[in-house]
């Protein structure tokens, strides 16, 4: 319980990390609200949800799960690398992560694109004519994966910043708070997907 007496600058690692964690809590609750809505409608329209979940491509879902898991590992490893002082390796690992994130987004793009092709998008006529439960399922699907994709993008930006900071020597083996926090953020993205995946893709 000792204090940093100086002017509270980012050197307070513990504080910075704590702040990040608390921020992650708010993110969890942001998605938590959606999960709550999901739970309520699933209880109400379980058959429709089953039917609608068939429409989603479980293969793409599984693929994306694997991609995110691997990317989570590479981020975690990049922190190890920085701690051990190997800048090059850390950058390589981060680049791998970003590459995986891009693959994830491309998959997502094809998935959504396909949905749009068969006219299943919010407000479309096809959707309006479905059963109410299926309609809600797709509403939730777009809302949840959309918000998640937004987080993926933010995470990518953070990681890119980290790469630059490593290059310029702002992130080094004994000062890597930004990288650690970005890593935490990236894991959160993964964490949320871990729940989205069974709820949306596997409930057939």
């Amino acid at each position: 319980m000792t204090q940093t007496a100086n002017h509270a600058h980012p050197t307070d690692n513990e504080g910075g990390k704590m702040g990040m964690w608390i921020f992650l809590f708010t993110e969890l609750f942001l998605f938590g609200g959606l999960f709550l809505v999901y739970a309520v409608f699933r209880a109400k329209y379980s058959d429709d949800f089953h039917k609608a979940a068939y429409e989603l491509d479980a293969l793409i879902g599984t693929l994306n799960t694997v991609i995110l898991l691997v990317s989570s590992m590479t981020v975690a490893m990049s922190i190890t690398a920085i701690q051990k002082g190997s800048k090059k390796l850390a950058i390589k690992l981060l680049l791998t992560t970003i590459f995986l994130a891009i693959v994830f987004m491309v998959n997502k793009y094809f998935e959504w694109h396909h949905k749009f092709d068969i006219k299943v998008y919010p407000g479309s006529e096809v959707l309006q004519n479905l059963e109410r439960g299926e309609l809600l399922f797709f509403g939730l699907y777009y809302m949840m994966t959309g918000l998640h994709a937004l987080h993926v993008i933010i995470g990518m930006i953070l990681l890119v910043i980290c790469i630059f900071k490593i290059k310029s020597g702002h992130i080094i083996s004994n000062r890597y708070l930004l990288l650690e926090n970005s890593g935490l953020y990236w894991h959160l993205v993964d964490l949320i997907w871990i729940f989205l995946f069974p709820l949306l893709y596997l409930l057939t």
């Binding site: 000792t2 964690w21 975690a76 993964d190 069974p198 409930l203």
Partner: protein, 93 residues
Amino acid sequence: MENKTHISSYESHGRVLISLLLLTMLSVLVTWMEFGVFTIAVALTVASVKAFIVLTWFMHLKFESNFIRWMVAGVFVLFTLVLIITFIDYFFR
């Protein structure tokens, strides 16, 4: 300051990834096998285990201060409570 930084090895990250992948396989398999009503329970349990693993090792909770650990647990408990209380309405309607 309690700066006992823990450095996880590459291998341990690798092991974590493998267990996560195995669990993913498990949940996909489970849904193919159709456990009926239990499918969702199983799928969510597996997801929770995965989340736990990610939190503990990837997110380093294992080596974090107690405060953060308790808060994370608290947040999940809080969310569960909110869910349950909301369902006091929906179940008894």
